[in-house]
């Protein structure tokens, strides 16, 4: 990894901080923008490298994508990773912190309770939608749907079940599937 020059670090901050504030509906909303900035605008990665970094960010644990971290690392080593991660997550965290403070002040009012109860089913619908959208985008077709539905049923039947064995089973099953193709 190349050592981070000041200019590269500033560029990383300038790219990821605004994206943090544009990612309505979660991190997936801005992946297209991250690709555009990294490949076409700043030439941080080739298209091939970007696809690899994206897949890697999915293999790691953690929120949404650690894609920003990986791109920062590719551009400017450890300090790049630190700057990109902070720029990508901090603005949104500060915003939600301020909003939650305001929200807490209204606790107990009729409106507060109505808003919380009224939004709950929509939130549940968004959870389901998020899964559906990702499944539809997956290149692996119906086996992905089948595996997702089986996992859903298992977790609803046994809520205390730890998901990591399920993830490993998914990886093993699809690995075998790929070998047999």
């Amino acid at each position: 990894m190349s050592e981070g020059s000041g200019g590269a670090l500033i560029a990383l901050g300038l790219v990821f901080a605004p994206l943090s504030l544009l990612s309505f509906g979660g991190g997936n909303a801005v992946i297209a923008d991250i690709a555009q900035q990294s490949i076409a605008v700043y030439h941080w990665t080739s298209e091939r490298e970007f696809a690899d970094l994206f897949a890697l960010s999915r293999a790691a644990p953690g929120p949404g994508s650690m894609l920003a971290t990986l791109i920062g690392w590719k551009v400017a080593g450890f300090s790049g990773a630190l700057v990109a991660t902070t720029a990508y997550y901090l603005p949104s965290a500060l915003l939600v912190f301020g909003a939650a403070r305001l929200w807490g002040r209204w606790r107990g009012s009729v409106w507060h309770s109505a808003i919380e109860r009224g939004l709950a089913p929509i939130a549940a619908g968004l959870f389901l939608s998020g899964g559906i959208v990702v499944l539809r985008a997956s290149p692996s077709g119906w086996p992905v749907w089948a595996a997702a539905i089986v996992t859903t049923a298992a977790l609803l039947r046994w809520p205390q079940l730890h998901p990591v064995p399920l993830l490993l089973a998914g990886a093993a099953l699809f690995g075998l599937l790929a070998l047999s193709q």
Partner: protein, 186 residues
């Protein structure tokens, strides 16, 4: 802000360790589902209705859902310090792990079987997301109107793939209005 619970705040080291654990085990994205599993089902630090309303309110704010929920839950558990500790805890593990994977992968390159395996992981993670949505909806006792709203959300965003913001902008006032006129059931 003072913690929102009447019960004593959860100690900061416990919050930190709990979020480190979620951070290191929440594979495949979908951190919100992992948080639900750990904070609501396992530790019972908050209930389903609170979790869902935090998630829904977070939709008005940009950013990763996992990050927003982490800040909100940390704040509920131990005020501002709880939010900071929770966020650092959540990110510390994945930050180190993703860099390690990146370094290991640097020579690896393209591999079809690896990509398929990642798809398998993704499928299981989506199962977790589905289970979270269904479980927390059942436990917040939505009623017929709530079920209709949830189904409308799935239809518009999940199936028709309309942009989320305008859909929520239309459905949210409907849901809030219904909750205002409906007698409280909880």
């Amino acid at each position: 802000m003072a913690p929102l619970r009447s019960a004593p705040a959860i100690a900061l080291p416990r919050i930190f360790l709990a979020f480190v654990r979620v951070g290191c085990t929440s594979f495949g994205g979908g951190t919100a589902g992992w948080l639900h599993r750990d904070m609501v089902l396992k530790r019972r630090w908050l209930d389903d209705a609170t979790f869902l309303s935090d998630f829904a309110l977070g939709q008005a704010i940009p950013g990763s859902n996992g990050i927003k929920l982490t800040v909100q839950i940390g704040q509920r558990l131990h005020g501002a310090a709880g939010a900071v500790v929770a966020l650092v805890g959540l990110l510390a593990g994945p930050f180190a792990i993703v860099l390690a994977i990146g370094a290991a992968y640097a020579g690896f390159g393209e591999n079809r079987i690896l990509h398929q395996m990642l798809d398998g992981v993704a499928a299981a993670v989506i199962g977790l997301t589905f289970a979270t949505g269904l479980h927390s909806m059942a436990h917040s006792r939505p009623g017929l109107a709530g079920l209709t709203l949830a189904a409308a959300t799935v239809l518009c965003v999940g199936i028709l793939r309309w942009p989320m913001l305008p859909v929520v902008a239309v459905l949210a006032p409907l849901g809030i209005g219904l909750a205002l006129v409906e007698p409280r059931r909880r």
